[in-house]
Amino acid sequence: MSQTYADYRLSQLDQLEAESIHIFREVASEFEKPVLMFSGGKDSIVMLRLAEKAFYPAKIPFPVLQVDTGYDFPEVLSCRDSWVDRLGVRLIVASVEQAIADGIVVDDGKTSRNRLQIGTLLHAIEENGFTAAFGGGRRDEEKARAKERVYSHRDEFGQWDPKMQRPELWSLYNGRLHEGEHMRIFPISNWTELDIWDYIGREGIEIPSIYFSHQRSVFERDGMLLSQSEYNPLREGETAAERTVRFRTVGDLTLTGCVESTASTIDEIIEEVAVARVTERGATRGDDRFSEAAMEDRKKEGYF
């Protein structure tokens, strides 16, 4: 008997997809007002693809929320618009600039836009009454994330308490909330960076062009290659030069570094990622470098 049934096996990518679709459907069933947090990066695009599959041929039954730092890459915004158009989903943009203007967050000139996103995001969640917010966090990204649940509880202040996490067993998720609380949902928790690329390649889906090798005027700061732009004025001693680069993550362009690369196809990117010796966040994210617990601290406050 067992020999016959041995043929019934799912590849690991199919297993991950099945698990994520299960999570999307579970949340859509049990939460009153879910929302998908969309950064425009590859992880949130994979989330959109999985949500599309979970409810097809119906439309995705929740809106998409993007926190606009004002420093977003134009290539990312145009990719976002193309996805939103194709899927016919409602897009809500929460603007950091607007939040500053409205006094919701305070721009003291020292705090990064990345950090100001937290207040902007929490305000948008509260204002819209969202009870569940899907995020593209993966457990392989960072060690605080490695311990986070798929359903990650947030109190009335939007805070994460790592010591009070609910046990999460089998595929039985507990979505109970009190008034004013919400749940962060991480449907791609078990995916690795390589899985994401394999899936993008397999599905043939559109991602922002900055993930592929291109010419860009860049300069070095804190060991990272940053994009030259009006938001990113050169400091003394810094000089910009044209290089062949691509981005491994996308975020606030004042903080997101690129890497020198000639990878111009998904296959070439996969090849590059497979032999990479530095994590994507370590290589290209200024926001994670401040301390050993940088991510844990931001998550406690309500970060993605």
């Binding site: 067992s2 049934y5 041995a6 019934y8 096996r9 799912l10 590849s11 690991q12 990518l13 199919d14 297993q15 997809e17 099945a18 698990e19 679709i21 299960h22 459907r25 579970e26 859509a28 069933s29 599309e52 979970a54 409810f55 097809y56 041929p57 119906a58 439309k59 457990r139 392989d140 960072e142 060690k143 605080a144 490695a146 311990k147 790592p162 010591k163 996490q165 609910r166 046990p167 067993l169 089998w170 595929s171 039985l172 507990n174 109970r176 928790s189 078990n190 690795t192 390589l194 899985d195 394999d198 996969i270 090849e271 990479a276 010796r277 530095v278 994590t279 370590g282 050993e292 844990e296």
Partner: protein, 420 residues
Amino acid sequence: MTTQTGMDLLRFATAGSVDDGKSTLIGRLLMDSKSIFEDQLEAVEATSQSKGYDYTDLALLTDGLRSEREQGITIDVAYRYFATPNRKFIIADTPGHVQYTRNMVTGASTADLGLVLVDARQGLTEQSRRHAVILSLLRVPHLVLAVNKMDLVDFSEEVFERIYAEFTQFATKLNVPDLQVIPISALQGDNVVNRSEKMPWYSGPTLMYHLEHVHVASDRDMVDVRFPVQYVIRPKSDDFHDYRGYGGQVAGGILKPGDEVVVLPSGMTTRISGIDLFDREIPEAFPPMSVTVHLEDDVDVSRGDMIARVKNAPTPSQDIDAMVCWMTNQPLRPRQKLAIKHTTRTGRALVKDIQYRLDVNTLHRDQESQELNLNEIGRVQLRTTVPLLCDPYSKNRTTGSFILIDEATGITVGAGMING
């Protein structure tokens, strides 16, 4: 190019405390499969140095929370990932101490394989026995006993054989369908990835070889069709005007169009008219696929219902007999009322009786106990407000499991495995 399309997946759980070398072993598996990145290693080296250690403490890689690093102990389940050319691995790395039993239960709940470590110098300890008991209660189908620190007993066959015999003797009391015992030295790498030259008497697989080749696809129930309806898909658009599909993840058996099926709890019978995976019709669906099922008749089906075969369906029941692991400070007592979640069904449950508390170290059944405390496991009778469409946990880990939720706090307080 590296393609993962043909790769399969193994989820395994490890448990251990500071001294038995678990972190060293995981560190080695990650290092030897090139899954530790330079920036991660540098951070760990820097922290080790600043703490004045004269070695690189690989436990710092997995102890992700500030409180864990401060106390130097693993508190919570950490998930770790690595891959070899044929398989991807998800490690649920759990703490070993008795006060973290609930975390180990959590890690074991989704594992295909459990890895128990013993120190060759000490042999079986209360802790290693407890780990084996928990893995067996959670019906983790494959068990590996890694006898570690063989370098500290001169790679002695005799020591290994003694531990092997003692463990097999103990394992007869447990449900262990597949056991592999491997002598290793995590520190020196013997029999972890590379075969040890110092233990020519051992002819079995290395740990990595075993992890890569252990056969897990047939562990799932491919016979008894179980499809908990999760979400009803009704597009209400012009293109799909009459479309009605039932979304869910196959929990057991193989579903095919044309199959005669019964919808529970209503008992209505109909046939499967089609199965979709996204925009494609597929000829069959099996666990753990997430699909959309169409039925021939327009029967009333909603979330919480289950599709099964007419002659092979679970009996709906409101009286549940289960092993429960209790996960919160307030003890579980008879007459208590809790929320229960089983597959896609939610209801309430009343604790009718606690039959016994199981001593997870000795397997002794304490029938005097009238309550279950944090981290304790016992046999409990429940009465539920809605009938559960369940199977014995030994037959199906999806339809045989449930969680208990405190209705006031919303916290998950118990995990149950249905007896039968």
